[in-house]
């Protein structure tokens, strides 16, 4: 394997990790506040469709992005109403949202564009443009530093934003009052309530942030990574993000490590159809299944147990 191939695979890793990272942080914030969210997939899918559809109609990717975030937040609020206000089953609500998005995107796409449930291909300003970091042409030939800088350069704005969200999420969760309360509401909502802070408002806040991040994930998927929406284009990425979140044990920096690992696996599986490790051929399907297998292993607690926030999944009932 030459340097050029490695550079290509790593560039592709960053791009593939981006939607995972947004969705992973989205789930992390929601679950830290005690609201389980297996509807990341559905929100991403809805956002992917809205971003592509509106970007195509308006010719402007940023208008599409705004619409995507809006649509994703609307689905988040449905989840919030079901699981916070009406104290319904959060997991079932998440399942419902996944199907709602899977169905509605195709029905509406077929009605708007009549292309079998996809949007027309995006081009020009309707797609996210690559940003070249300064001096990339000068640095390119410098040994070691050059290839690394080349890998980091030439991505869409949202790729950089996703990686900026990691320290931001860490800061908000662990260094602000809001973050402290958010984590507290996921561990012991009764204590937060006793302190006079609204559990419902905090949880809605977390769910809304989750919606915004899923919106960014979907928008990048349809207008950055691809050039348009196709049916079921998230293809399980919402669940890989969920897996990454558990893998990272609900911690932002570890989440970045997990999505980079899963992104690398996807990039390698895309690039090479046959991989040999120590002379034994590894089928491409094994590479695809690896994130899920790793997550089950982590969940089983054989290699460091993953313990979710204590109040996760249970609605809060105020005492009278």
């Amino acid at each position: 394997m030459d340097v050029a191939t490695i550079v290509q695979v790593l560039e592709s890793t960053l791009r593939l990790a981006t939607p995972l990272l947004f969705a992973c942080l989205a789930g992390l914030i929601s679950e830290r506040a005690g609201v389980f969210d297996i509807g990341l997939e559905g929100k991403m899918l809805m956002a992917a469709f809205m971003s592509a559809a509106i970007a195509y109609v308006s010719g402007n990717v940023w208008v599409g992005l705004t619409a995507a975030v809006f649509a994703s937040v609307v689905l988040s609020l449905v989840h919030g109403v079901a699981s916070i206000t009406f104290r319904g089953n959060q997991l079932i609500s998440g399942v419902a949202i996944n199907f709602l998005a899977a169905g509605i995107t195709v029905v509406v796409a077929q009605n708007w564009f009549r292309q079998g449930g996809r949007t027309p291909s995006l081009s020009g300003n309707a797609r996210m443009q690559r940003i070249d970091l300064p001096f990339v042409d000068v640095v390119r030939d410098v040994p070691v530093l050059g290839p690394i800088y080349t890998i980091l350069s030439g991505h869409a704005l949202l790729v950089y934003l996703a990686f900026l969200c990691v320290p931001l999420t860490w800061y908000v969760l662990f260094r602000t009052r809001f973050g402290l309360r958010l984590r507290a509401v996921g561990e012991n909502p009764a204590a937060v309530d006793t302190a006079g802070v609204s559990v419902v408002r905090l949880r809605y806040g977390a769910v809304a942030i989750c919606g915004v991040l899923c919106g960014l994930a979907g928008a990048y998927l349809a207008t950055g990574l691809s050039a348009g929406f196709v049916k079921d284009m998230t293809a399980g990425r919402g669940f890989i993000a969920l897996a990454a979140m558990i893998f990272a044990k609900w911690r932002p920096w570890h989440a970045m490590g997990a999505v980079l690992l899963f992104g690398l696996l996807e990039a390698v599986a895309n690039r090479f159809q046959n991989i040999e490790i120590l002379g034994v051929g590894v089928p491409v399907q094994a590479m695809q299944a690896l994130p899920y297998i790793l997550t089950v292993v982590i969940l089983a607690g054989f290699v460091g147990k993953a313990i979710p926030p204590r109040a996760g999944g249970s609605p809060y009932v105020k005492e009278h």
């Binding site: 109403v81 206000t85 009406f86 997991l91 419902a96 899977a102 169905g103 299944a289 969940l299 607690g301």
Partner: protein
């Protein structure tokens, strides 16, 4: 947001009916919004699904799939376990059916049916065993592990079909055809024995009767056996069940084995009864529809049966709709999602007006 008591009969009839009505109403708005007529759509669907024995045949074929997956989810729900892995368990069930049908020469379809059912149940149960064990012994959340197992099952099946079972020289990732001697009798052949004419086209077959038999078997198991009592007690209250000497580990693992076996048996209908070979998307989301069916059927085998017919109707009606109008089949996925949302997650919201109604009646009476 407090909901008062409502009588049991209202809980099992009014709540699901109102949920479905809400789901249909929103879907009607969606149909109207994309410029089609909701009333025309309903007419087309009802005619397409119930207007002929051809329509009935497809409705019942789809319903058979949903009976199995619905029962699988319902049994797990009785123990408060959310088995979302029906999709993967049914995929593995398909693998079990294919191995049994391909590698053993069966003299007669009836023996093959029994063997394939056992194979499907065994593979489905095995695929549910690991998440069940991890939930019981290690406390790993069953919802997450079963989701992960769905994806692992899809990869495993992809590998098996591409690299192991594929017909040599064929590009199509599918197993060879099963021998024609073990083709299951179709419903028109069975009804023909008693002189009832039925369309020969639809793939509805003897697995429908197997599904109905499983409804009775599950009912018997849940309400007439010690294990069923333990499962329900465990679902009502884990600490109370444990205090009564019911082992949580044993109950959880047994429930998941039964649930996985039921989901796996769906493959008898779809793989052995229809396609006669194993293909990549043999399950086509039926595992997930089982969630809607179980929620709607209130986790009771009879309710599951009725809900499965309803979803069979939606599936066949939806196919007709896609054929004659510009409404794609995915409309059914929207209806399915809304049914899950209202019966499963917004349950308390749906209950509110009903419980208020009963409170008013009580005050008046």
């Amino acid at each position: 947001m407090r909901t008062g008591k409502i009588p049991h009969w209202a809980d099992v009839t009014l709540v699901p009916l109102l949920s479905v009505a809400l789901a249909f109403a929103i879907s009607a708005v969606l149909i109207w919004a994309i410029g089609e007529s909701p009333s025309e759509a309903v007419k087309l669907m009802v005619e397409g699904a119930f207007g002929s024995t051809y329509g009935w045949g497809y409705t019942l074929f789809y319903a058979t799939n949903f009976i199995f997956t619905g029962l699988a989810v319902a049994v797990a729900f009785q123990a408060r376990l959310f088995n979302i892995g029906g999709e993967g368990q049914a995929l593995l069930g398909g693998l079990g059916v294919a191995l049994v049908c391909l590698y053993i020469p069966w003299p007669h379809w009836s023996i093959a049916l029994i063997a394939a059912s056992l194979g499907a149940a065994l593979f489905g149960a095995a695929w549910a065993l690991i998440p069940g064990y991890l939930q019981a012994k290690r406390g790993s959340h069953i919802v997450i592990t079963t989701i992960m197992f769905n994806f692992i099952a899809a990869s495993l099946l992809g590998y098996m079909l591409v690299s192991v079972l594929r017909v040599p020289g064929s590009q199509d990732p599918a197993s060879p055809r099963f021998p024609s001697e073990i083709a299951l009798p179709k419903l028109h052949e069975i009804l023909g024995l008693v002189g009832i004419p039925f369309s020969t086209v639809p793939p509805v077959n003897i697995a429908l009767l197997l599904g109905i038999a499983m409804c009775f078997a599950v009912w018997f198991m849940l309400w007439r056996t010690r294990l069923g009592y333990q499962i329900r007690a465990f679902g009502e209250s884990e600490p109370a069940a444990q205090y009564a000497g019911i082992s949580p580990v044993r109950t959880t693992i047994y429930v998941m084995l039964i649930s996985g076996a039921l989901a796996g048996m769906m493959a008898v209908n779809s793989v052995m009864g229809e396609q006669q070979r194993l293909v990549l998307n043999a399950v086509e989301g039926a595992g997930f529809i089982g969630i809607a069916v179980a929620l709607m059927g209130r986790n009771h085998p009879f309710g599951v049966f009725l809900a499965a017919i309803l979803f069979g109707f939606l599936y066949q009606g939806g196919a007709e709709l896609a054929l004659w109008t510009s409404i794609p089949r995915e409309l059914i996925v929207v209806i399915q999602a809304l049914v899950i949302l209202f019966t499963g997650a917004l349950d308390n919201m749906v209950r509110m007006p009903i419980s208020r109604l009963f409170a008013l009646r009580k005050r008046a009476g």
